[in-house]
């Protein structure tokens, strides 16, 4: 499978630094505090956030901050062939603990002692960039839930083919070339998560980081636009039927 052909196109027609199309739906679902669905190309993830709320198990509470709890559930139909994953599948558990520690530093947990913030991630379709979609979806859902964050966490996958970086990989590309998922904080341009499990020479990392941070900023833009659109819509709704002055005491 040729990752990048002679005139610089990839197998799905994208160019080297081109990201897949992103669709973000921030509609409110059920009793969750914040919900978000994000689609990167064909990878679709639904995240719902509940909390900060009373912890189910008092033993899990921490006396000076909130306890972040992440659960990832992979739909059996999400990848090519149907595969029912056991509850104790180590790969899924590792992804959940990676997301948990990524957001434990971003969420201002010290504001909610002895409470719990639950993040439930449902993977609906996967075509590469799974951890990327989960992190971006979680950022959106947390913001929709009104939970204070230090910054967005914007994740992107990047690989190396013929010594030059490639962005936002599909499953085929992920299985073929060495790749890494990277999550960054746009405000400080610092890296919060890196996950790489394929062999790559040390010298490639320099420009890999640089390109990945650039891509992170672009994804940051898309997420900002989506949230602003929703915020403006909510504000507009509240303004049209304003308050009769007489019955307001403020």
């Amino acid at each position: 499978m040729e990752v990048l052909n002679a005139d610089g196109y990839r197998s799905d027609g994208r160019r080297q630094f081109e990201l897949r199309s992103i669709t973000i739906d921030l509609a409110q679902h059920g009793a969750a505090d914040g919900t978000a669905t994000i689609v990167h190309g064909l990878t679709k993830v639904f995240v719902s956030v509940l909390g900060p709320r009373e912890a189910k198990l008092r033993s899990l509470t921490i006396h000076d901050r909130a306890n972040v709890n992440v659960e990832v559930n992979v739909a059996a139909f999400s990848s090519g062939e149907r595969r029912k994953r056991a509850k104790s599948d180590k790969r899924v558990l590792e992804m959940a603990s990676a997301i948990k520690s990524t957001f434990e530093t971003i969420i201002q947990t010290n504001l909610y002692p002895r409470s719990q913030i639950d993040i439930y991630i449902q993977i609906i379709e996967q075509d590469g960039g799974l951890l990327q979609a989960c992190i971006n979806g979680t950022t959106l859902a947390l913001i929709c839930a009104g939970i204070p964050l230090v910054d967005f966490a914007c994740a992107v996958t990047c690989g190396v083919y013929a010594n030059s970086p490639i962005l936002d990989l599909t499953t085929l590309e992920e299985n073929d070339i060495p790749n890494m998922t990277l999550a960054m904080l746009p405000k400080t341009g610092s890296v919060n998560l890196t996950a790489m499990e394929s062999r790559l020479h040390v010298d490639r990392f320099g420009d890999l980081f640089e390109v990945a941070l650039g891509a992170g900023r672009v994804i940051h833009e898309e997420m900002k636009l989506a949230i602003l659109a929703k915020s403006r819509m909510l504000v507009a709704e509240m303004k049209t039927i304003g308050w009769g002055e007489k019955d307001l005491v403020d």
């Binding site: 890296v191 998560l193 890196t194 996950a195 790489m196 062999r199 040390v202 320099g206």
Partner: protein
């Protein structure tokens, strides 16, 4: 009873001492504890300890029929359950987060990185292949069991010898060590894992091979597994204090330097043990 989190006195003392680049056990911030490797009677049995952290790795091989989807490759399985013997933090039955991290890291460092050539483990295509079973026992957790386990795993694989096997037609004869010298595994490269602990206070430098107190008080760890040929197999930073790319590149360079040194220590130790072993064969 989960061990209580460290006291405020220990927390403040650790931060102050690290600000002066002093560590409680007298090491430099970027100094790794000297690994001591002691080998068992059989080949493929090693007890590796970093300071008081101790892990035993042991390899068994048996011949099995390969799964239909991979007829030409041998099978490597890794068993790494952390029992309460390591520290009261771990409970039977419940997989702790630490155990998930270690198990996944071993899988990435020893299996997914193709450190061992699986084709060489094939005896007779889709008939008989070698099944290597690496079992790890965690004896004591004095911090950074991850690096200790990875080191024990790779050293055990390098120390293991499998019996010589001859195939005529589809008739397989296995020669016990007393008859023919046992065969080492085909190892492409040997990756070593290095874990750095970072702290929320930016003035505190990152610390290599954290002790238990440093690990518990750190604001996130970053693990890098790489071989002596400067190829990184795993680069894993799950959350913790955000770092600028230049800081990440800095610790990569440190890990590269450390890998050379560690590789040398392991090779010498293996030679030492090999020379002391008299394998007589008729």
């Amino acid at each position: 009873m989960r061990p209580p989190s460290p006291s405020i006195v220990e927390k403040e003392f650790l931060y102050n001492s690290l600000k002066e680049s002093l560590r409680i056990d007298g090491r430099e911030p970027l100094e790794m504890r000297e690994p001591t490797l002691s080998f068992g009677p059989e080949l493929g049995w090693v007890e590796c300890s970093l300071g008081k952290t101790k892990v035993i790795a042991q390899i068994e091989a048996k011949i099995v029929r390969p799964p239909p989807e991979r007829p030409l490759e041998g099978i490597i399985t890794i068993h790494s359950e952390i029992s309460p013997t390591a520290s009261s933090e771990y409970e039977f039955g419940r997989t702790s987060e630490e155990e998930v991290t270690i198990t996944r890291m071993l899988d990435k460092v020893l299996r997914r990185s193709d450190a061992i050539d699986k084709e060489s483990l094939c005896i007779l295509a889709n008939q008989r292949v070698w099944h290597l079973r690496l079992t790890l026992h965690f004896l004591a957790d004095a911090g950074n069991m991850l690096d200790c386990a990875c080191l024990a795993g790779i050293v055990a694989l390098k120390h293991f010898r499998r019996p010589e096997v001859e195939v005529i037609g589809d008739e397989i004869t296995i020669y016990p060590p007393s008859e023919r010298a046992p065969f080492p595994l085909a190892i492409h490269h040997s990756p070593y894992c290095f874990t750095f602990a970072f702290f929320s206070d930016a003035t505190i430098p990152p610390v290599l091979d954290p002790s238990q107190l440093e690990q518990r008080l750190s604001a996130g760890v970053t693990s890098i597994a790489l071989n002596a040929q400067k190829e990184i197999c795993v680069f894993q930073k799950f959350g913790g204090v955000p770092l600028l790319p230049k800081d990440l590149l800095a610790i990569i360079d440190i890990a590269v330097a450390k890998a050379q040194g560690l590789h040398q220590i392991v090779e010498n130790r293996l030679k030492e043990d090999w020379s002391s072993r008299t394998v007589e064969f008729r």
